[in-house]
């Protein structure tokens, strides 16, 4: 690398900490100018700063490769200061291999053998490669398969590109280097941003920072249609519908309009006991409601009609159910008087059942979105992972009782709520160890079933209800909540985050209401909002 008088008169180090070498900085600017197509600007920058994009060895090597002077190439490479032995060997190997192929291609077999003996073997590379080269002497057609076809010029150009990959990076600036450095910085800012929820345009002019208002923070609607405690809410997978179930023995389907208002659609009546759980089919056309101590019912969402009732001749209670990804089969777990796990189709016919002494009592069930893993909460303290239908099993013991289970949308993680007022996050994999990936604390839970959910863009947040009538939101990396939402007057049983609209959250509470919470600002935050927050 040469530095001329022009650059010595300027600073030789840039940046507030003096980490950046000016010559290297100018070189990557020149390189990105060339790659953007501004050749005149790039060459005038080269002459003005006196820094050349390509080092002298680079030009010499290019000339030697293109003209086929192989010995000169090798001596140029040997003259590169600071090159380590393995790169030297690799580079020499590449050069001699090209020479070898060219000799074979032009039919000079004896010189080719000489090259193989005298130059390639002493290098000490992997002997399989050397043997394969020897094979090409015998079998000429095999050369075509290695991809070393094309004209001599093309092959030499590709040899040169391979060489610069092997040699130290200062010989030739790696392409796209400046873009890569900027991208790394932006990604780092984005990942350390605490409230990053809404996909925002990344701007290079200022550091990326999200305001707390970007996660749902204000209550925009209070839905009063239920006549008793609301125990469960869930958005559909496409985010267009919301279903809520209550101890007044009904479930209500709401539509989420384009302007983010939630409108009453239909009430599903027919159960005689409080409905404790409901589940959307993966294609969002059907809904299953499970009630406490009674049968489960299957409803069609569009027409809100009852399609089927899953009843059991032995009058077992179906405690929870999960859909298979194909939306045509359901996995159910039931108990009392004996424990049973069974799959059934949409008409209620039982397809497969597992029952007997070994089957534990499962209180919560879920299937991963790709249909391969089943996860269940057994006997309150054990998490059971199983590859479906036959496969590896994994049992994880928790210290305290587990009240509920929730999967992330990508099927990679799950969270369980414990009676000890903790939420544990784990990876959804049969091969993992027993350790917890993350723990979230701060909410209150002791007597009741409190449900939590993943949410936000990229599922980077966890939200949970609580017995102190507040909603707690955590960032996945951090144990304490980043936001607490107040508004309900009694315990919040369940929360659900809209998968399609990361600025919308819904919560169900014993005070008979479902509340919709919205992020304080629109998906395009403006400067004005920032100023109003400060003032």
């Amino acid at each position: 690398m040469e530095s001329s008088d022009d650059i010595e008169s300027r600073l030789s180090r840039l940046g507030s900490r003096g980490l950046i070498d000016t010559t290297q900085f100018v070189r990557i600017i020149i390189q990105s100018l060339y790659s953007l197509g501004f050749n005149k600007a790039a060459s005038s920058l080269e002459s003005e700063s006196g820094v050349r994009l390509d080092s002298a060895q680079h030009d010499r090597l290019l000339f030697d490769v293109m003209s086929g002077r192989w010995e000169n190439c090798v001596s140029t490479i040997n003259s590169i200061p600071g090159i380590d032995t393995s790169s030297l060997i690799n580079a020499s190997y590449l050069i001699w291999k090209e020479h070898f192929f060219e000799l074979i291609g032009s039919g000079c077999f004896l010189p080719a053998i000489e090259v193989l003996w005298k130059q390639i073997s002493p290098l000490g590379v992997d002997s399989c490669r050397v043997h394969r080269l020897a094979q090409y002497l015998v079998c000429y057609e095999a050369m075509g398969q290695t991809g070393s076809v094309g004209s001599t010029v093309q092959r030499r150009i590709s040899l040169f590109l391979d060489l610069v990959e092997v040699l130290p990076p200062y010989i030739r600036v790696p392409s796209g280097r400046l873009e890569k450095l900027v991208e790394t910085a932006v990604l780092k800012q984005r990942s350390s941003c605490q409230y990053h929820n809404l996909p925002k345009e990344i701007t290079l002019f200022e550091d990326h920072k999200c305001w707390p208002e970007q996660i749902p923070s204000t209550c925009s609607q209070v839905l009063l249609e239920h006549k008793n405690e609301v125990w469960f809410v869930q958005f559909s997978h496409n985010g267009r519908y919301l279903a809520s179930s209550s101890s007044d023995c009904t479930a209500i389907i709401w539509t989420v309009e384009d302007d983010d208002m939630v409108v009453y659609k239909h009430c599903l009546m027919g159960h005689e006991k409080p409905i404790s759980f409901l589940s959307w089919s993966p294609d969002d056309t059907m809904l299953i409601t499970c009630s406490n101590g009674e049968t489960s019912k299957l409803w069609d969402v569009k027409t809100s009609t009852l399609l089927a009732t899953f009843s059991d001749p032995k009058r077992r209670i179906i405690s929870s159910c999960a859909w298979f990804p194909s939306s045509d089969k359901v996995l159910c777990s039931s108990s009392e008087p004996d424990n049973r796990i069974f799959t059934c189709d949409l008409a209620g016919n039982v397809l497969d059942a597992w029952e007997g002494e070994r089957i534990p009592k499962i209180s919560d069930l879920a299937i991963s979105p790709d249909g391969r893993l089943v996860i269940g909460i057994c006997s309150e303290k054990t998490i059971w992972l199983c590859e479906f239908p036959q496969g590896k099993e994994k049992v994880i013991r928790e210290e305290r009782s587990i009240t509920s289970l929730s999967l992330s949308r990508d099927g990679q993680f799950f969270i369980v709520n414990l009676n000890s007022e903790e939420i544990h996050l784990r990876k959804l994999d049969v091969n993992i160890g027993d350790g917890v990936d993350a723990v979230f604390k701060g909410h209150r839970q002791g007597k009741y079933v409190i449900r939590s959910c993943f949410g936000g863009s990229g599922c980077s947040f966890v939200a949970s209800g609580s017995e102190d009538s507040k909603i707690y939101i955590w960032r996945r990396k951090c144990e304490s909540p980043i936001k607490v939402l107040m508004g309900h007057s009694m315990i919040v049983n369940s929360v659900t985050w809209n998968p399609a609209r990361p600025h919308m959250l819904a919560s169900a509470s014993d005070d008979h209401t479902v509340r919709i919470w919205m992020a304080g600002c629109n998906p395009q935050p403006s400067k004005k909002l920032g100023e109003s927050l400060i003032s």
Binding site: E229, S379, E380, T403, K447, Y448, V449, I450, I491
Partner: protein, 110 residues
């Protein structure tokens, strides 16, 4: 009231609340059958489930001063007995952390 989280006991013999039939205690957690509670004979038990505790009180029982918490079934709020929090007599120290379950308020299953 929300959806109550009810634990179920696996063992063959359990005690259930007489009113609402939720599991209260496993039979093998009994320490002594010779206790007497407010409503008659009672058991001293190591472990109970599905209960809520009342506030701490100082009470003078047959065996001396104790600090106790009343325990109620979390489902129907029936008074089931009490928990010994602190005993002021050295001979009564073994009771600390254990529960008294009134026979009249539970029924044995199995």
């Amino acid at each position: 009231m929300g959806l109550l989280f009810l634990q179920s006991l696996p063992g063959p013999k359990v005690f259930k609340c007489r009113c609402c039939k939720v599991d209260s205690a496993p039979h093998d957690a009994i320490v002594s059958k010779n206790f007497s509670g407010r409503y008659g004979p009672a058991y001293l038990i190591n472990r109970v489930v599905n209960i809520t505790m009342g506030p701490s009180e100082d009470r003078h029982l047959m065996t001396g001063w104790h600090t106790v918490n009343d325990i109620f079934c979390s489902c129907c709020q029936q008074l089931l007995g009490w928990k010994y929090e602190k005993a002021y007599d050295d001979s009564q120290k073994y009771k600390e952390g254990r529960f008294v379950l009134e026979k009249a308020r539970v029924m044995k299953i199995g």
